[in-house]
């Protein structure tokens, strides 16, 4: 929604060249990026404001034409140091007149009046005036901050009136764009899963190429705002903190299609990941953090820092994982990369698949003797539903035990039905051919024992049981698995205690089963 409004605002005056990477020397790019994990007294500690800032600076330097000499990164600094940095940039701009671009980024605490740079404050009004006064043709101010928040690691701050950018439409603001991570009194959120602020994460991903809507290899300010706004809203829609709507105010004097990055360019020190197969992608760095998440039609190119990545692609109810390496200046192509299928249950537990996965398995089973009735051998048929937090399994078993002692022989059939609840743990990564899942839980069941003695007499009894169970499943491919069951069922066993009387005794046993199954 916001993106469409943004796009409606733009007018094309063909000034791209003046601010592109290939721009004349007179059009330089300056950036001040400020990150501060600490706020004032009541502000919660932020985890990712400073790391977001460092990563964005690296990305802008590599892909955006912001040279390292003209890029200032301020981490955990005070308001005074920010003021000094702004003044220094202003001096440098005045010294080299031209159609320069200045980008100021802030990630940290704020309230309706000021940025919270640790214990110090930088009034928003002063920030607006200072940035507006910078002697550049275009000034871009990006604020990833919010009012307050507690849940889902929101960026903290004191509750207050809405965080609206009060930007008067006067001459001083010509050529000024302001992007804010949230609107009104919303909270800007950090994500443990992303290891980043939600807004900045999508800003970076968009600048890395996924925002390149027209596939021209460049990401414009309009494109990246649309992308960031849409994805930030989508990612925060289901959070307990509530949806986060990025907002903007801009007056770019027709320079709205300003190119911020050129992810398609070679020689930037980045490599490329070509998402040439349609699907829903998760791209993870080696440390497990999410580098990108996108739904691709099969024509996206993502610029990435060189290094190893795990790429998960989901399409319908299938999930594939590939491990690949992105090299400096090289392109990794999904269709040319070996991938490994991920089992359905693992998909569900990772939250990357359907709500539930189902499995059927058949196993040969043995159980230690109950009351010296002999080792029971038979088969178990299991049907399981894998949900994200737990799995439920129904088990039907049939076993036969034979016992021969000096004075008694008997054959005992055991027909059982049980329900188990399991907590599954996916062990290790998905390898080329297989993956291992362990599960622990408890089962409760009912066993009907029919014993035939050597004199031909028969006796039958219902015997409830319960106990802990463990399960190990080795998945082969996407649908098939081998499984090993272990359990310690404790039976409320009907036992003949005298010649003609029967009582109930608690009797433990050890059960195991080895089998195979399929999931769907």
């Amino acid at each position: 929604m916001m993106g469409r409004r943004f796009r409606a605002c733009v007018t094309l005056l063909g000034l791209l060249g003046a601010f592109g990477l290939g721009a004349p020397a007179m059009a330089a790019r300056f950036a001040i990026l400020v990150g501060n994990n600490e706020g004032q007294g009541g502000d919660a500690h932020l985890r990712f404001a400073e790391s977001d800032t460092v990563r964005l600076a690296e990305l802008l330097t590599r892909l955006g034409g912001f040279s390292s000499g003209k890029t200032v990164v301020l981490l955990a600094r005070t308001a005074g140091e920010l003021q000094s940095a702004l003044a220094e940039v202003a001096d440098r701009l005045r010294a080299t007149p031209g159609d320069h671009l200045v980008l100021v980024y802030y990630s940290g605490h704020a309230d309706a009046q000021a940025l919270h740079l640790g214990a110090s404050s930088f009034p928003l009004g002063q920030l607006r005036e200072t940035v507006s006064a910078l002697p550049a043709a275009i000034r871009v101010l990006i604020l990833d901050a919010c009012q307050a928040g507690v849940l889902t690691r929101p960026k903290g701050g004191r509750p207050g009136p809405g965080f609206e950018i009060d930007l008067a439409k006067d001459e001083a603001t010509k050529g000024l764009a302001i992007l804010a991570a949230s609107s009104g009194s919303e909270m800007a959120q950090e994500s443990d899963q992303l290891h980043a602020s939600v807004f900045t994460h999508y800003l970076e991903v968009g600048l890395s190429g996924l925002a390149d809507r027209n596939r021209d290899g460049n990401v414009s300010l309009g494109e990246v705002f649309d992308y960031t706004a849409d994805h930030t809203l989508a990612a925060t829609m289901g959070t307990t903190t509530g949806p986060q709507h990025p907002t903007f105010r801009l007056d770019l004097n027709g320079r709205d299609d300003l190119i911020l990055t050129r992810p398609g360019l070679a020689g930037t020190g980045y490599g490329h990941l070509r998402l040439d197969v349609p699907g829903w992608y998760f791209v993870r760095r080696a440390d497990g953090t999410i580098a990108a998440e996108t739904i691709s039609r099969g024509d996206d190119i993502l610029a990435l820092e060189p290094g190893p990545y795990e790429v998960t692609r989901r399409e319908h109810d299938e999930l594939d994982v590939a491990t690949l390496s992105v090299g400096d200046g090289t392109a990794a192509v999904i269709s040319q990369t070996a991938s490994h299928p991920v089992a359905f249950g693992r998909m569900v537990r990772k939250g990357q698949g359907p709500e539930a996965a189902y499995a059927l398995a058949i196993s040969t089973a043995v159980r230690t003797p109950l009351e010296d009735l002999g080792l029971s051998a038979g088969a178990v048929l299991a049907a399981r539903a894998d949900l994200r937090p737990v799995s439920f399994e129904l088990r039907l078993g049939l076993g036969r035990a034979q016992q021969t002692s000096e004075h008694l022989s008997s054959t005992t059939w055991d027909l059982s039905a049980a329900a188990a609840v399991l907590r599954a743990i996916d062990v290790g990564a998905v390898t080329r051919h297989s993956s291992l899942t362990c599960a622990f839980g408890a089962e409760v069941g009912l066993s009907y024992l029919t014993q035939t003695l050597d004199d031909g007499s028969q006796r039958g009894s219902f015997n409830p049981y319960l106990g802990p169970v463990a399960l190990a499943e080795l998945t082969i491919g996407r649908r098939f698995f081998l499984r090993l069951d272990l359990g310690v069922p404790i039976y409320a066993l009907r036992v003949q205690t005298a010649a003609t009387t029967t009582g109930t005794d608690w009797r433990p046993a050890f059960a195991s089963a080895l089998g195979a199954g399929t999931s769907f």
């Binding site: 004075h407 006796r459 009894s461 010649a499 029967t502």
Partner: protein, 222 residues
Amino acid sequence: MKGQAVLFGLLIAGAGASCGRGVVPGATYDQPLLSFSGTINPTGGLGQAQHPIVGLLWTDPLQRSADVTMPARWLQSTVDAAADTFTVDIFRPPPPEAVVDLADPSGKLLQRLAMAEIVIVDDSDGDGGFLVKGPRATISGSERYLAGSANVLTYVESPFSSPQINSPLTLPAQIGYALVNYNCQGQLSAGTNPVNPQKVEMILQPSQDFPDVRTCRASHGP
């Protein structure tokens, strides 16, 4: 505490939910239910026997069903022909078909019991058992009766509901095995009395085909 309460509740519910005739544990009959021993009179009568064994011949006191022999694995016996003594260990209740119902004229069940003659058989084929046929428990095959006891082995599965009612066949209120002596006065029984399990007396069989050694309550299958 809550988890323990739930577990306790499950255990109680589980115990309550179990029902039916319980299994017979495999080790149930590892120990004898009854052991007895005694002497054989007159002495020296078993001198020619090849494999003398003690056997039990279950018989219906009301002569409604055929006689049943105790399976060989269900008891163990030793017969010392030289010393004229024997020992018996019984490990199992009687075969189900040997247990008979005694009912009053209205059909109400009064007692479930079994009754066995104690005999010594020459187990010539060495299989530990013997077979009978016919209305008088005629021994079949190559085995032959050597001796029998005037005492009777009884097994009460379900006693009289009222202890005041004494069975003419068994000792009162007695569940399981018992050795009973019928005080025979000719063909009539003048009552019962218990037998010392270490002093069971066998007497040499007048017939090698039929088991009868007692003048009263000699009942065999129809």
